[in-house]
């Protein structure tokens, strides 16, 4: 006898346990990223801070009377040289000849005729040759066996007209890229039971695969108007986006 509440509790514990290692790894990664970025930030910011402190200290030290012969004034020399070297190095960068980048005016919209003219000049997309799928011996046997079964199921569907079986066959054909068959069986299934979401979706998807996108859209619109199906709406949106590009 199943103790559902206990089983749900055990499942929750298992889920937490199984997620815990991933969460721990994720936490370690996040912490290390934060630490690393913090250290890097500190490294870059501490250098100017140190120099500024030094400068501050220098400022704070009692300023001696400026004298050329004074030894303290010599302390400034390296920084002067540094400045000179900096200033000396800049022309090197500037001396590199740079080619002016041609400014291309961005056309916000093109007239349709112009777009078509442009697309005409674009070479057609060469589709890569379809590599025939080499099936292993075992796989091909499996397919034969399954094909035998599907005929048997089709016979059963003829006799009992069970919409669930019709949907199963339609889905099977769709999965095996037999889109004409999946279209036919989805159509038959819809005829028997017009409220099966998945059957309508397979029907529309098969139409798309057969190159009849408009018909698929119309079918979906019709079905949505009758059923208000969210799945159908989602698929119609996807289709509209995909084929309006």
């Amino acid at each position: 006898m199943l103790d559902i509440s206990k089983l749900e509790h055990r499942w929750l514990k298992y889920k937490i346990k199984s997620i815990l290692p991933y969460a721990a790894i994720l936490a370690v990664i996040i912490i290390s990223i934060i630490t690393f970025s913090f250290l890097m930030f500190n490294k870059t910011t501490t250098i100017p801070m140190v120099t500024s402190k030094k400068e501050d200290l220098k400022v704070k030290t009692p300023v001696p009377v400026p004298s050329i012969n004074d030894e303290n004034s010599m302390l400034l020399e390296p920084s002067m040289q540094f400045l000179q070297s900096m200033s000396g190095s800049t022309p090197l960068v500037e001396s590199v000849p740079t080619t002016p980048v041609p400014v291309v005016p961005i056309k916000r919209s093109l007239p349709l005729a112009q777009v078509q003219a442009q697309t005409d000049t674009v070479p057609p997309i060469v589709k890569p040759p379809q590599v025939p799928v080499v099936k292993g011996k075992l796989t091909s046997i499996k397919r034969d066996d399954a094909a035998f079964d599907i005929h048997e199921l089709e016979e059963r569907f003829k006799n009992n007209s069970n919409p669930n079986l019709g949907l199963y066959i339609a889905r099977y054909h769709y999965d095996h890229a037999n889109y004409t068959e999946s279209y036919n069986y989805a159509l038959k299934t819809n005829g028997i039971n017009a409220t099966m979401d998945e059957s309508w979706l397979i029907f529309a998807k098969s139409l798309v695969k057969l190159g009849k996108e408009d018909q698929a859209k119309k079918t979906l619109q019709l079905y949505i108007s009758n059923s208000n199906s969210q799945n159908a709406k989602n698929y119609l949106n996807t289709l509209t986006k995909e084929y309006s590009k």
Binding site: I4, R10, W11, L138, L165
Partner: protein
């Protein structure tokens, strides 16, 4: 009260070996054909081995079911460990010789020579790893005398491999190894079982992701898969009765599969 949608699928996966429930899967049916061909050959012993849950017992029962229409076939699915009992039961099953006394090997062989069959009778022994070395020696002598033909099944585990080597290596004329079901085979197995029983709506619920999870949990072990599916549909039947809003009819829930796996011990939680 309306019967649950899931009670019929649940009952399909009860852990009972019944040749009528045999589901034809390519690799298994290929093995079965080889087994049938081997049985027709003048071999004395045929070994059917594989890891637990690979369908050895089912094949043996299927063989018994199919061959018994044409020839004398005896099935001993529960091992008879006692040597005297074994020969007595065998004599009763094959030659219909009832004896309360212990039967010696010599007496058994005399009996077999006295009874003539058009085809040598076949004895199917399940779980042969449980038989003692001495009893296996007697079985070998009976098969050597061509009194009976034996088809034996053996678990293939690391330890039992040693037993297999010791007892059978030099005596077996043909051996057939059964493998665990692949992901694809398990899918066909489950779908075919459901479709055979007209459970189309439940068959439609099973998607690729579900099968992958089931296959991962059971490692292609048919027995474990049956147990898991039984527990899963029991869960669904419970939810359908007590909390139907929790059921989604477009696919099997990963949560429920995992809960069923916890219940059957496939997941240690």
């Amino acid at each position: 009260m309306e019967p649950s949608l899931f009670s019929k699928p649940r009952d399909l996966f009860t852990d009972v070996v019944n040749p009528r429930d045999y589901v034809q899967i390519d690799s298994v049916s290929h093995m079965y054909q080889s087994l049938k061909t081997s049985v027709q050959k003048p071999l004395k012993m045929i070994l059917l081995y594989g890891r637990p849950g690979t369908g050895k017992s089912m094949l043996l029962h299927k063989l018994h079911h199919d061959l018994s229409k044409h020839q004398k076939v005896c099935m001993i699915d529960i091992p008879i460990i006692d040597e005297d009992d074994f020969l007595r039961v065998l004599a009763q099953k094959v030659y219909s010789y009832a004896s309360r006394e212990a039967l010696t090997l010599t007496r058994f062989l005399e009996l077999s020579s006295a009874v003539n069959f058009p085809v040598i009778p076949i004895v199917l022994l399940d779980e042969a790893q449980l038989y003692s070395a001495a009893l296996m020696e007697k079985i070998r002598l009976i098969s050597d005398a061509r009194a009976l033909k034996f088809v034996i099944t053996l678990h293939k585990t690391d330890n039992e491999d040693i037993i297999a080597k010791e007892h059978f290596q030099t005596r077996i004329w043909e051996s057939i190894e059964l493998q665990n079901a692949s992901h694809e085979e398990l899918k066909i197995y489950i779908q075919k079982k459901l479709l055979k029983a007209n459970c189309f709506d439940v068959a439609n619920m099973i998607n690729e992701k579900n099968i992958k999870l089931i296959s991962k949990l059971t490692r292609g072990n048919y027995r474990e898969s049956n147990k898991l599916m039984f527990a899963l549909f029991s869960l669904y039947a419970w939810y359908e009765e007590h909390n139907p809003s929790k059921i989604k009819y477009n696919s099997l829930s990963t949560k429920y599969i995992e809960m069923a796996a916890i219940h059957t011990g496939l997941i240690n939680a």
